[in-house]
């Protein structure tokens, strides 16, 4: 492992942290069980000394078995590496945040669907009312139109009545004057009759 390079006259924390991260990344990855072990022990109140099996040294059967397992599993190394790699805490936080956002979006979607359903019902109700009102308006228009026709008819009728009455009046006047003439003619004829009678009797 390359020791961490530090310029003590110009300390660069960012650079030191990059080197630390790189060193950690270079380390051979432990199995998930091995990774969890220190955490579990860290949580215990008083760490208990672990008994060491006598035959399990660096070259013991467990170590040999591990070597054989590693050899057998070598083709699957990238996959194992991928599965074993601890998910970066930042990534975990991002995923948690995205998950939270997703849940909020789901809840928002559910609320939106419910609101949409209510809106649909309300729109349907409004449409029905509008149709009813339209029908009433049409009916009212029809009635108004009929009344208009009646009014027109009545107007024509009254006009015709006036015309006829005027004609009758004129005719009446004409007949009256004819009657007067005939009356005068009759008076004249009466006078003539009397005069002729006188003459005849003489």
């Amino acid at each position: 492992m390359v020791p961490i390079q530090i310029d003590y006259n110009h300390i660069d924390v960012s650079n030191i942290m990059d080197q630390i991260k790189a060193q950690i990344a270079e380390r051979p990855k432990a199995s998930p069980l091995e990774l969890q072990q220190p955490l579990r022990e860290g949580r215990s109140v008083e760490p208990q000394p672990q008994p060491q099996p006598e035959n399990e040294g660096p070259a013991g059967p467990r170590s040999r078995a591990k070597r054989i397992m590693l050899k057998v599993m070598k083709p699957f190394a990238p996959l194992i590496k991928f599965l074993v790699l601890p998910v970066h805490e930042e990534l975990r936080q991002t995923i948690l945040s995205l998950d939270r956002t997703n849940r909020r979006l789901d809840s928002l979607c559910a609320t939106m669907e419910e609101t949409q359903r209510r809106l649909d019902i309300a729109v349907e109700d409004v449409n029905q009312r509008v149709n009813e009102t339209n029908n009433r308006v049409d009916e009212a228009f029809l009635q108004i139109s009929r009344r208009n026709d009646y009014i027109k008819l009545l107007h024509n009728l009254s006009h015709n009545i006036v015309v006829e009455l005027t004609k009758l009046k004129i005719e009446e006047e004409s007949l009256k004057s004819k009657a007067r003439i005939m009356e005068k003619d009759f008076e004249f004829l009466q006078k003539r009759e009397k005069a002729l009678e006188k003459l005849a009797l003489k």
């Binding site: 924390v13 942290m17 955490l39 760490p47």
Partner: protein
């Protein structure tokens, strides 16, 4: 000029967070302006139960006006509402209900701001997320300055705060990361603001040896100072430290100072000191090899700043962007995202005294350039000058 500093709690007993930040700012700004603190009668930040009996008092020369909390917080109900608000689709009224439940519910404080707004030139609100800041900023936006002390926790994403971040006349941020976060959330880049943070009072007489003899300390140790809490990442610190011990067999110890709400592992190399005095804290820091800062959420770690002031490197949690950013800017601390990184970084720091010294020197410089009270007061005064100039232009 009369400044009102508005904060949720205030008192000598309160040893951290925005409250201590406010007290230090008040005590230092008193040199330049007439300062008054407006706060509640609460001491317990879980329930906000009224604790301080007097309406007015003077603390370290600063007049303090206290207003009663008329509704204590029910932690269970608050937790339920917070879970609902953070995990479900909800309306703005739900967020306001959350704010109301979070408290400290002190309407008399808001009424005082409304009635006496003309008596003060500026109101500086500390901590954006509490009742006093939300309603206070709505009441006197034209005279307000906000010290948000915002951490990267989910609450900052609530809708009610997006508009809130447009109300103040100026912002006093604790860090570059806090400013970026608030700007990106509310697009309020146009509002006047500066990265200020808070200074630190370093006692003249500090001795690591005194701490060693007082607490019978033998051997090297790393130090954690603060509330021992899962929210502060202490459970991970214990886990990683024990894993490091197992891996390396190093004799180094972990010392913890502060109140605890977490069960501390019973291990001979994890030593709990309890709540220590300011003098003991600095002595302990002086004797330590480095300071561990495992917190996930910080808007500014005062204790990290103090460690740098004393020339001690910091090993911080990289998941806290503020701490990571500070380590990178100062070149005075390493950070970790996993157990392996913790182990490697700690190994490197413990193995090289030269590295610790170089980082410590960087820390001292970083503190001198950014966190001495002369610098902090200067930044506050500059913001006030800019606001005054703007006011004159407006007039």
């Amino acid at each position: 000029m009369k400044l009102a500093l508005v904060v949720q709690r205030y008192g000598l007993e309160i040893s951290g967070g925005a409250e201590l930040h406010c007290r230090w700012v008040a005590e230092h700004m008193a040199k330049h302006a007439q300062v008054e603190v407006l706060t509640t009668k609460a001491y317990d930040y879980i329930t906000w139960k009224n604790h301080y009996p007097h309406d007015r008092e003077v603390i370290n020369g600063i007049p303090v006006r206290r207003f009663p909390v008329d509704k204590t917080r029910n932690p269970e109900r608050f937790g339920r509402i917070q879970n609902f608000v953070l995990q479900n689709e909800h309306r703005e009224t739900d967020e306001l209900r959350w704010l109301d439940e979070e408290g400290p519910h002190a309407p008399a404080l808001i009424a005082h701001l409304k009635e006496h707004r003309e008596e003060y030139d500026y109101f500086t609100f500390f901590s954006y997320r509490y009742y006093h800041s939300y309603w206070g900023l709505q009441t006197v936006p034209e005279k307000s300055i906000l010290v948000p002390t915002a951490e990267h926790d989910p609450v900052v994403h609530l809708r009610i705060f997006r508009n809130l971040f447009h109300l103040p006349q100026a912002f006093i941020y604790n860090s570059v990361e806090e400013r970026k976060m608030i700007n990106s959330l509310s697009r309020n880049e146009t509002i006047l603001g500066d990265i200020v943070g808070v200074g630190s009072e370093i006692p003249a007489d500090i001795s690591g040896e005194r701490f060693r003899s007082k607490y019978s300390v033998v051997g090297d140790y790393i130090l954690y100072i603060g509330r021992i809490d899962e929210n502060k990442g202490c459970h991970k610190l214990f886990e990683y430290f024990l894993a490091f011990k197992k891996e390396t067999g190093s004799p180094v110890k972990l010392f913890l100072a502060g109140s605890t709400v977490l069960k501390i592992p019973s291990h001979p190399d994890i030593v709990y000191l309890g709540f220590v005095s300011e003098q003991d804290k600095f002595d302990a820091l002086d004797g330590a090899l480095l300071l561990a800062m495992p917190s996930f959420y910080e808007s500014l770690s005062m204790v990290a700043v103090e460690a740098w002031a004393l020339g001690k490197p910091v090993l911080a949690n990289a998941q806290c962007e503020v701490l990571k950013g500070q380590c990178l800017r100062s070149n005075a601390g390493l950070f970790y995202e996993s157990c392996e990184e913790f182990s490697e970084a700690l190994k490197l720091l413990l193995s090289s005294e030269k590295l610790r010294q170089a980082m410590g020197e960087n820390g001292r410089q970083y503190f001198g350039q950014n966190y001495t009270w002369e610098v902090i007061e200067g930044k506050y005064l500059k913001i006030l000058d800019q606001l005054e100039a703007r006011k004159r232009e407006g007039a």
